[in-house]
């Protein structure tokens, strides 16, 4: 029987960690992820886990200690946000290339500067090519479920890669929601014992980790790493199917919401999907054929599947909660537009940068996006695809007045 509870996203993830009982958790405080190690250290203090909690002096050392622990043969975990992830940057690549399947919760937050503690996806997008599998959850339940599944995915023999469990700072991390927890023994059985093939504390076979790898071998190693990421897609689906059997909760590469006959659609990562679903329901009442794709698996990128799911749409808005600074839009936009190139369908595709630095994303913001998509369908005119929603435009008198009214 599932356990009904009311928890914040961070506490739910900490509970998952307690249930898994990892060997090492090494973490450093940063808002908004810091509650995860706080909750977890209380489990350590109360003797509920066997874990060594290493309160490191920086995120760089958090990731370094996790690498040392995982290479030694233990299960290592951590959590971070924003600048903390940025400080780990060098080590993210080393964890991935050393094929160490640790799990890290990334409680997404805007990157400095200017410093801002609130949510967007600039941290997650910044590390998108570091070799980590990236799962995104919409709410507390998904943050919890994804964390448990992440171990099985990363540790699979065909994968052996680290996994980022991404969920939105404050919106998900600090909001308390009703959710279902699994019994401790079910989680333990589901994740099983970690049995690495090679590890430093194996007394029968010493190993050396992290060589100088020069031109004769480096290229082949990077290619193997890329293949592991490709293998991850099927493994994620297998693990998700097994999880569904246990919980009844179905997870795929992405979630399609009212997409069967959708003419206009949005693609979203994270918590804003919940707002979009509400807007879609209202639009559907008015006869607008609106839909949503919420991406769960961002790395590996499910390009073919997304292209197929979007092929019947007439106009699509790709929602990026991080600007691209390439002068051509956000990362998600560029990747999805590229994914569509292989098919025959050529829906109109535009990009909206939204919600930066914790700017509220309201239902009327998303309505504006759907209205714009409907306009594109009606007129056939796309215009500049690189757009913003919810930003105050210094040149737009109407927007300024609206913003002033909202402030009052």
């Amino acid at each position: 029987m599932a356990i009904r509870d009311k928890l914040s996203g961070n506490e739910a993830v900490a509970v998952a960690m307690r249930q898994i009982n990892p060997d090492v958790v090494a973490a450093f405080p940063i808002t908004p992820s810091t509650e995860v190690p706080q909750y977890f250290s209380s489990y350590v203090a109360d003797g509920l886990v066997d874990t060594e909690f290493v309160a490191v002096e920086s995120e760089h050392s958090a990731m370094s200690a996790c690498i040392g622990a995982q290479a030694a043969g233990g299960r290592a975990m951590t959590a971070t946000s924003s600048a903390g992830l940025a400080l780990m940057w060098e080590m993210l690549y080393i964890a991935a290339s050393s094929r160490l399947p640790m799990v890290m919760s990334l409680v997404t937050r805007a990157l400095s500067g200017p410093i801002n503690i609130h949510n967007d996806h600039s941290d997650a997008m910044g590390c998108r090519d570091s070799g980590w599998i990236q799962l995104f959850g919409e709410n507390n339940q998904e943050a919890y479920d994804n964390f448990i599944m992440a171990l099985r995915v990363g540790e699979h023999k065909d994968v052996q890669l680290p996994v980022l469990n991404c969920y939105d700072g404050f919106i998900t991390s600090h909001s308390v929601e009703n959710m279902e927890l699994l019994e401790d023994n079910l989680v333990k059985d589901f994740v099983g014992e970690y049995k690495p093939q090679h590890y430093m504390l194996n007394s029968k076979q010493q190993i050396a980790v992290g060589p100088l790898d020069l031109p004769p071998h480096y290229f082949e190693h990077k290619r193997l790493q890329a293949e592991a990421m490709r293998n991850a897609k099927n493994v994620i689906l297998e693990v998700s199917a097994e999880f569904e059997k246990m919980t009844g909760r179905k997870y795929g590469l992405f979630e399609e919401y009212r997409m069967e006959d959708a003419e206009i659609a949005m693609v979203i990562l994270g918590s804003t999907a919940g707002t979009a679903k509400y807007v879609i329901d209202e639009l559907r009442e008015k006869g607008v054929k609106a839909g949503l794709i919420k991406i769960r698996v961002f790395r590996p990128f499910p390009a073919e599947e997304l292209a197929a799911a979007l092929s019947h749409c007439k106009a699509i808005a790709i929602m990026d909660k991080a600007d691209g600074f390439n002068a051509k839009g956000g990362a998600l936009f560029n990747e999805i537009r590229s994914a569509m190139y292989d098919g025959d369908a050529r829906p109109a595709i535009v990009n909206y940068i939204y919600g930066l630095g914790g700017r509220d994303v309201r239902t009327n913001d998303l309505e504006k996006v759907y209205d714009a998509l409907a306009e594109i369908v009606a007129t056939g005119v796309v215009g500049d695809p690189y757009r913003y929603v919810g930003v105050i435009d210094a040149n737009d008198v109407a927007v300024q007045a609206e913003a002033a009214a909202a402030r009052e």
Binding site: V54, L201, V209, P211, L212
Partner: protein, 310 residues
């Protein structure tokens, strides 16, 4: 049992030959001596910061290390090994392993005094049962002899060149061993490969088998950076000790203890003139006097800390 070089040398090598370190480099005999201090039955996890020792001993697909070994990056040898030690503690507690492991992290002076200082300080403060060894050759030798905060004043390096106006490095070196002693950890030592390696071996044994964190700062002459004939490795080490450029001492639970007091303290010019990197100041008596005064000051301070007569 009293130390005996011949007997300890019979132990199987844990850093084997075939690595690519230079002839006349201090780091390999330092590393081998430290590993010899491990009990034969004890296993070890060895870490190294990026640097000469790492890139020359573990070039894929070969490793010269008999024990499990890990290199991750430049600034985090201490943090990486602290994570491995934490995993060991957890896995031992839950019965997943039952062998005895020791944890030793190496770093050069660049990876220790400079970029790795935070990681080192954190690992020592947290109390991991590990040894951190700095092999100090006084510059970033692996990248081509750039100055570090361990480089002695007036040394000619590739980023503190002896020019027409500026005669080499402009700062005295950081007293890292004393910085580490100030952490209040159970064992800190300053040592060097000298004579029959007794000082280095015995301090290594203490560092490894003292529960909790230990730090060793070991002088490791570098023929390329210091510019000496490769055959003179041991001689350079000896002059450094006898001029009191590199005093031998240990700090046990906060108590300073001098390990060796030269009968005749040699002038610092003996040490300077043995190395090409100081050639440009040998005709500059003021600079030599300045260095001598600094050496004397630090030596006097150390004698006081050790409760020795000045």
């Amino acid at each position: 049992m009293a130390y005996n070089l011949k007997e300890t040398s019979l132990k199987p090598e844990r850093l084997t030959g075939g690595h690519r370190m230079c002839a006349g480099c201090g780091a390999p005999p330092v590393a081998r001596t430290i590993l010899r201090a491990l009990k034969e039955d004890d296993k070890a996890v060895i870490g190294s910061a990026t640097g000469c020792l790492e890139v020359s001993t573990f070039l894929y697909p070969y490793t010269a290390w008999k024990d499990s070994f890990i290199h991750t990056a430049f600034e985090n040898s201490a943090a990486t090994i602290s994570g491995a030690e934490a995993a060991y503690t957890a896995m031992k507690k839950t019965g997943k392993i039952d062998d005895t492991y020791k944890f030793i992290a190496f770093g050069g002076d660049g990876g220790t005094y400079d970029i790795g200082l935070q990681s080192l300080s954190g690992a020592m403060e947290r109390g991991h049962d590990m040894v951190y060894v700095c092999y100090d050759n006084g510059a970033y030798m692996n990248t081509g002899i750039q100055r570090s905060s361990a480089t002695p004043k007036y040394a000619d390096t590739s980023t503190s060149p002896a020019g027409k106006v500026v005669p080499g490095k402009q700062q005295f070196r950081k007293e890292l061993t004393r910085v580490m002693a100030a952490h209040g950890i159970p064992y800190v030592a300053q040592t060097a490969p000298t004579k029959n390696f007794k000082d280095l071996y015995e301090k290594s044994e203490k560092a490894i088998y003292t529960p909790g964190p230990a730090f060793m700062n070991v002088l490791a002459p570098c023929p390329r950076g210091w510019r000496y004939e490769t055959s003179k490795l041991m001689e350079l080490s000896e002059i450094a000790i006898d001029t009191c450029f590199w005093p031998l001492f240990e700090v046990v639970n906060g108590e300073y203890k001098l390990s060796y007091r030269p009968k005749n303290k040699r002038p610092i010019s003996d040490w300077l003139e043995a190395q090409g990197r100081f050639k440009h100041i040998m005709k500059n008596p003021e600079a030599i006097v300045e260095i001598q005064e600094e050496i004397d000051l630090k030596w006097t301070q150390l004698l006081r800390l050790c409760g020795e007569q000045e």
